[in-house]
């Protein structure tokens, strides 16, 4: 038990009005903890509070009661005895009378009433007493906002939790509700008020009960708020959004049918408002309330509702032409929000009472006349926009009506369908012959656009109706429905008409007919099989027609797309609804036809369109896709040799397209849809077979493109294979590789030392790698890049040697493959036989002991005997000729890729590699600076600078993410946070080297490396040391701006700088260096070589203006002067940025720009 002295001080501190709010909150918390842990009983506390609760000083009394209330709120989960609750609620109920100390009583009552049953609740009698006291004493509208909110919460709680207690109060209750919510304006209170009405209305559903007599009064109060008009610009300020309020009011409106006599007239009235938002809201409310009020009550409003819907949809439709509508004759509309809501309302009403509404729609003279006026032929292009909008609306109206039920569908069909058919010149087709002889009908009647449009809309509606039934279990026999019989009768003629529409497209450019024609055919083809109007034969005809249209119409982009889309939709439908007969027909007519296109010259459409059509139809289902894959495999088998050996232009183009299709569409599709890996495996196998069987290759430009496509396809295929298949592929590939001329390696003594043989090899063989060999090694590299880590690679040592040889020739894929290998090899091996089971250590040994890296003076890769006294020789060699320099650059790039493999798995070997790069960068420091050195070797600069640049750029390769290899898709081993680790280890090295070097070129190259490192490292890793980083960043910027060659790097650095500026943690460091940063940015704002650098620099300057005034004010003049020059920049983007920045800087002191 706590001693009285302990808690009395908390009580006193709370009651004392001079203590701060935080102190008061702390004392409530302290008391609540004591009570919760039973160190203090509630009884003892109340006794202690005694005087505070009853004193005549109203300020102290109110504080005392509020303390009790707050404590009760905090103890909501603590079990209390019934007696305690009874006496507390009794006391608080009584206190509701005391307007001076009201808040505490409200808070306390609310806390007690909200308690859960298992911790003791207020009895119903007590709740009734609270309610009575509430009605008797509380004048809600005379209180402040917070108290009003509490009152509403109390009332809401009583209505929701104690319905039995408030029910007997009846009329008085409603009187007090009306009184309470009348004239309420605060959004938070309003939401509660709306909810109170909703709950109360549901509590008294009786149409002769107390609510009925107050419904008019309550609705009068509620109705004023409709439509919700919100003047608060930001809803965050008040915690309530306009939508929430509107939703609450909607629920209140719809709470009881008793509101119907008041609500519907109000809503109808508001529809005549000119405010679009009011119309949208009205339709929304009507749509929601109609089903709640019931069809009987709504029946009498039918006429008014219809006329308002008609007004919006038909009389003054507000639909806008959609963007793509230009090309289709202008009949694709986007409906305005009002129309969308009106259609939803119409749909709801149709579900509720379709007969009544249909009577009105079908009997409507305007609509009838309108449809009749369209029965004669007219030209869509001459029709004014409003007429087209009306046509669209009428189409939607008919569709919504027909869609609602079988009966209404029948009625709509009976009323309009025969007329339309007549206008189109259709007859009931009972011919027994299935031929489609051209009927000698006036051609003009077939181009009755309006009727066609409505007809398609109707077809769409009844298809939706049928499919809707199909999804539910009860499947009515609709073949005997009237509409179905009619459709059946006219089906053949309709198809004929749609056909002639398609033909019209091929004749001239009437694309609007293409739309109806294609859409109509697509709809007819996708009626369920059990639904008879479209026989299999007709279905076949439709497909044939569409295929022939696609074949001939490829030069009309719009209709071609429509036709293809229709075919795809039909395919998807067949797949979705498991129609086996149709599926067979579809495969025979469409898929097989398309597949036959791949390798034939017919039809004469562009290859890319062909492939698009083929892929899209294939994607409709697995069986279709398999057929297509077969076709593509055949095509590759047939044409690959031709393409790759002879460089036959057409074959090359074809094979490239097919391979692209594989890597971009087919393989991803199989992965998504759970297909087998067989497809991927087959592709790899075919390519290797073809390579193996051909002996020589012609080197052309397209051949390189072909190689690129083949490599991508190979990577994509191999990465999706399982480990076993990958092993098979890699072995197969190795057999081809070992049979190639690349393998004099077999004879040379590779086991231990390579230096001499390799050197000569480099000199003699590398330059003459044949084209076929390049193909083989590139494809082999692609396979290796995509392998899984578990996959075992045979003859690893030889493979490694081969790749090293290739990379010195500048063959990047080989370098990437080496990187992938060292990334994925297991770290420990049990067997250590030559060319068996290599571990990563052995592989690195083999790679790094190779002599190609020896040109670097300070080679630290492996301190083995190879270099000894050889350094100078190699160094002189290195300087001997340009040819060697290019070999060394290739070697550096290769080493960078290997390093990337290591860095990603977090291998130690990366240190040596990094030191090598640094070594290259620092190499000439000892020789002094070129410009100043006394006897500059002519041409040395030209050689060494590219070498140093490539060493600096190696850091970019090390850290940047690559699409081609070493990423998650290609199963790389990626250690978390590897970039951060590398950043931490390399940064000190770079810094110390920069400090030591005094040559301008070395410094700039070191800064280039530094820039690569920081631009690829995640910001979060660097931001903690931003204060150290920023001076370096500025140094690097000032050094790099000296040479145009570094402009891309500068851009990356300035992006890092802007990221630091935007980061909260970085701002402290920015503040310390504000002057220096601003000076540097001013310089960059005039950087002549790259626009984005200027733009970003000015943006950064703009961001700097947000810093504290005292820090930046000294620079203001300087910045404004610099920016006023940027106002005259040749590039608009820079000028606009400059205006913004100038404004920001000018306004830190005053608005004036004088300086």
């Amino acid at each position: 038990m706590a001693k009285p002295t302990e808690y009395v001080k908390h009580i006193e501190s709370y009651v004392d009005s001079s203590s701060s709010p935080s102190q008061q909150a702390a004392s409530v918390d302290a008391l609540a903890i004591l009570l919760r842990n039973d160190l203090l009983t509630l009884e003892a506390l109340v006794r202690e509070l005694d005087l505070y609760l009853t004193t005549t000083d109203s300020i102290i009394r109110s504080r005392g009661i509020l303390l009790l209330g707050e404590l009760l709120t905090q103890l909501e989960l603590k079990p209390l005895s019934d007696a305690a609750i009874h006496s507390l609620i009794g006391f608080l109920t009584e206190r509701l009378e005391d307007w001076r100390a009201l808040r505490g009583a409200l808070v306390g009552c609310l806390a007690l009433l909200r308690r859960k049953t298992d911790v003791g609740v207020v009895t119903e009698n007590d709740a009734e007493a609270v309610m009575k006291s509430y009605m008797q004493y509380l004048q809600v509208q005379s209180m402040g906002q917070h108290d009003r909110k509490l009152c509403f919460e109390l009332l809401e709680c009583l209505l929701e939790r104690y319905p039995n207690a408030v029910q007997p109060l009846g009329n008085e209750l409603f009187y007090s509700i009306c009184e309470g919510i009348d004239e309420e304006k605060d959004p938070q209170c309003l939401i509660l008020a709306f909810h109170i009405v909703e709950v109360a209305a549901k509590l008294f559903p009786d149409p002769s009960g107390p609510f009925a007599s107050y419904a008019a009064d309550i609705f009068e109060i509620l109705g004023r708020y409709f439509p919700i008009h919100f003047t608060h610009p930001k809803s965050e300020d008040i915690g309530v959004s306009r939508d929430e309020l509107s939703r609450a009011l909607l629920l209140a409106f719809a709470a009881t049918p008793l509101f119907e006599p008041f609500a519907i007239p109000l809503l109808l009235d508001k529809l005549s408002s000119s405010l679009p938002s009011a119309k949208v809201e009205s339709f929304k409310y009507l749509g929601y309330c109609a089903p709640m009020y019931g069809s009987d009550r709504m029946a009498k409003h039918g006429g008014a509702l219809w006329s308002s819907v008609k007004d919006v949809l038909y009389t003054s439709p507000e639909s806008a032409l959609s963007v793509e509508s230009e090309s289709d004759g202008g009949m694709i509309f986007e409906e305005s929000d009002i129309m969308v809501e009106a259609l939803i309302l119409l749909e709801g009403l149709m579900q509720q009472n379709s007969d009544l509404l249909l009577d009105m729609i079908l009997g409507d003279e305007d609509i009838n006349n309108f449809i009749c006026s369209f029965l004669k032929p007219w030209d869509i292009h001459d029709t004014p926009l409003q007429l087209r909008q009306q046509l669209h609306s009428v189409g939607r109206l008919l569709a919504v009506s027909a869609k609602s039920s079988m009966a209404s569908c029948n009625r709509v069909f009976e009323k309009f369908f025969p007329q339309m058919m007549e206008a189109l010149g259709c007859s009931v087709g009972n011919h027994s012959d299935e031929s489609f002889a051209t009927e000698d009908r006036a051609l003009s009647s077939r181009f009755n656009y309006g009727t066609l449009y409505l007809c398609v809309e109707l077809l769409d509606a009844c298809r939706c109706l049928v499919l809707g039934f199909k999804e539910s279990t009860s499947f009515p026999d609709f073949i005997h429905e009237k509409w179905c019989c009619m459709l059946h009768g006219f089906c053949r003629s309709l198809i004929n008409i749609f056909f002639s529409n398609l033909e019209a497209v091929s004749g001239n450019a009437q694309s609007s007919f293409a739309y109806t024609g294609v859409k109509g055919l697509q709809l007819l083809a996708t009626f369920p099989r059990s639904f008879a109007p479209v026989s299999l034969l007709l279905f076949e005809n439709i497909l044939l027609k569409l295929v022939s249209a696609i074949t001939s119409n490829f030069d009309k982009k719009f209709s071609w797309g429509l036709e293809l889309k229709a075919l795809v939709e039909i395919g998807l439908y067949i797949e979705g609804y498991q129609e086996s007969e149709k599926a067979a027909t579809f495969a025979r007519i469409v898929v097989d036809k398309f597949v036959s296109w791949i390798s034939s010259d017919e039809p004469a459409m562009p290859l890319s369109l062909k492939m698009q059509a083929i892929c899209e139809t294939g994607m409709t289902g697995i069986s279709n896709m398999l057929r297509i894959v077969q076709g593509m495999e055949k095509a590759i088998s047939a044409k690959f040799t031709q393409a790759y050996v002879d460089g036959n232009f057409e074959s090359v183009e074809l094979v490239i397209k097919v391979l692209e299709c594989y890597s971009a569409r087919v393989l991803p599709w199989f992965e998504m849809n759970g297909g087998s890996e067989e497809v991927a495996w087959n592709l790899a196998a075919i390519i290797w077979d073809k390579i193996d069987n051909s002996s020589s290759v012609n080197l052309t430009v397209q051949n390189y493109e072909l190689l690129g496509a083949a490599m991508t396809a190979m990577k994509q295929a191999v990465r999706r294979c399982s480990q076993e298949s990958q092993e098979k592929i890699v072995n197969r590939a190795f057999r081809v590789l070992s049979a190639s001329t690349l393998f004099p390696l077999k004879d040379s003594p590779f086991a231990t030392s390579l230096s001499n043989s390799e050197d000569s090899y480099l000199n003699h063989h590398v330059d003459r790698v044949s084209c076929r060999d390049e193909w083989i090694i590139s494809l082999y590299a692609s396979v290796v890049i995509a392998l899984r880590p578990q996959t075992h690679v045979q003859n690893l040592k030889m493979v490694l040697q081969l790749f090293i040889m290739a990379l010195t020739k500048g063959h990047i894929p080989s370098a990437q493959a080496l990187g992938s290998l060292v990334n994925k090899l297991p770290s420990k091996t049990n067997e250590r036989h030559l060319s068996q089971e290599y571990g990563v250590e052995e592989a690195i040994d083999v790679i790094l002991t190779s002599s190609i890296w020896n040109f670097c003076q300070s080679n630290t890769l492996r301190k083995c005997s190879l270099f000894g006294g050889g350094n100078e020789i190699h160094n002189t060699k290195c300087l001997a000729g340009l040819n060697h320099t290019s070999v060394h650059i290739s070697a550096i790039v290769g080493l960078a890729w290997i390093g990337k493999g290591l860095i990603m798995r977090g291998h130690e070997g990366i240190k040596d590699i990094t030191m090598t790069f640094l070594g290259v960068l620092l190499e000439n420091t000892n020789n002094g600076d070129f410009p100043e050195s006394c006897d500059p070797i002519e041409g040395k600069e030209q050689e060494v600078i590219p070498l140093m640049k490539s060493a600096a750029d190696a850091f970019h390769i090390l850290l940047s993410d690559s699409e081609d290899c070493l990423n998650r898709n290609y199963h790389s081993v990626i250690r978390p946070l590897y970039k951060q680790r590398f950043y931490n280890s390399v940064m000190p090295l770079l810094l110390s080297s920069t400090r030591q070097s005094n040559s301008i070129i070395t410094r700039s190259m070191l800064f280039r490396s530094f820039a690569h490192v920081i631009s690829e490292t995640p910001l979060s890793a660097m931001i903690s040391e931003a204060n150290k980083l920023i001076p370096l960043l500025l140094d690097s910027l000032s050094t790099l701006t000296e040479d145009v060659m570094h402009k891309d790097v500068i851009y990356n650095v300035i992006l890092v700088l802007s990221a630091i500026l935007m980061d909260k943690n970085g701002q402290v460091a920015v503040l310390e260096n504000a002057q220096a940063i601003i000076n540097q940015l001013i310089g960059l704002a005039a950087y002549p070589h790259m626009m984005v650098i200027r733009e970003t620099a000015i943006q950064c300057l703009g961001a700097m203006s947000e810093l504290p005034y005292a820090r930046i004010y000294p620079s203001r003049t300087k910045v404004l002067q610099a920016i006023s020059k940027a106002l005259d920049d040749p590039k608009r983007a820079v000028r606009q940025e400059a205006v913004r920045c100038r404004q920001a800087w000018a306004s830190i002191a005053s608005r004036s720009l004088h300086f």
Binding site: M1091, S1124, K1125, L1127, D1128, R1132, V1139, Q1143, L1153
Partner: protein
């Protein structure tokens, strides 16, 4: 000063969609054109009403001409009514805004459209007289009005 509004109920026009210029075209001719100027001045607020000059149709893209080689900008604006005493304030706003946004070597001419103002000649003279403009902007009341129009967030 409780004078009534000069034009109590002006006709408000819809704001036109901003034309997005094609991005990332390094060879685009980025010379100053009327649209660029229009983009800068269209959002200036009317001295009387919480609408922009664009909404009140005081300005349009066609009413602006630029000659970048000679460094000249000519803006012709149309006051909403003939006797609009705010015409000079609008002109001052335009001049201030252009001074902020373009390098000093541009010579800016501001005129009211012929026949759109009763005192056309006087207004034109006043707006293109350096001394008078400077004097007007030293008047704290005028300066405040101009600032409000230029940087108002009411729109």
């Amino acid at each position: 000063m409780t004078l009534g509004l000069i034009n109590a109920n002006p006709v408000v026009h819809a704001k036109k969609k901003r034309v997005a210029r094609p991005l990332d075209d390094p060879h685009a001719d980025d010379a100053v054109d009327p649209l660029e100027i229009y983009d800068i001045v269209r959002d200036i607020r009317d001295p009387e009403h919480p609408y922009s000059l664009e909404q009140l149709s005081v300005l349009s893209e066609e009413s602006i001409t630029v000659d970048e080689k000679l460094g000249r900008i000519l803006i012709t604006f149309t006051p909403t009514i003939q006797h609009c005493s705010m015409a000079t304030v609008i002109g001052l706003c335009l001049r201030e805004k252009l001074k902020d946004c373009f390098p000093a070597h541009f010579k800016v001419d501001i005129k009211v459209a012929p026949g759109s103002h009763a005192d056309e000649e006087a207004v034109n003279k006043q707006l293109n007289d350096k001394e008078r403009v400077a004097a007007a902007l030293e008047n704290p009341n005028l300066r405040q009005l101009v600032t409000e129009c230029l940087y108002s967030s009411e729109l």
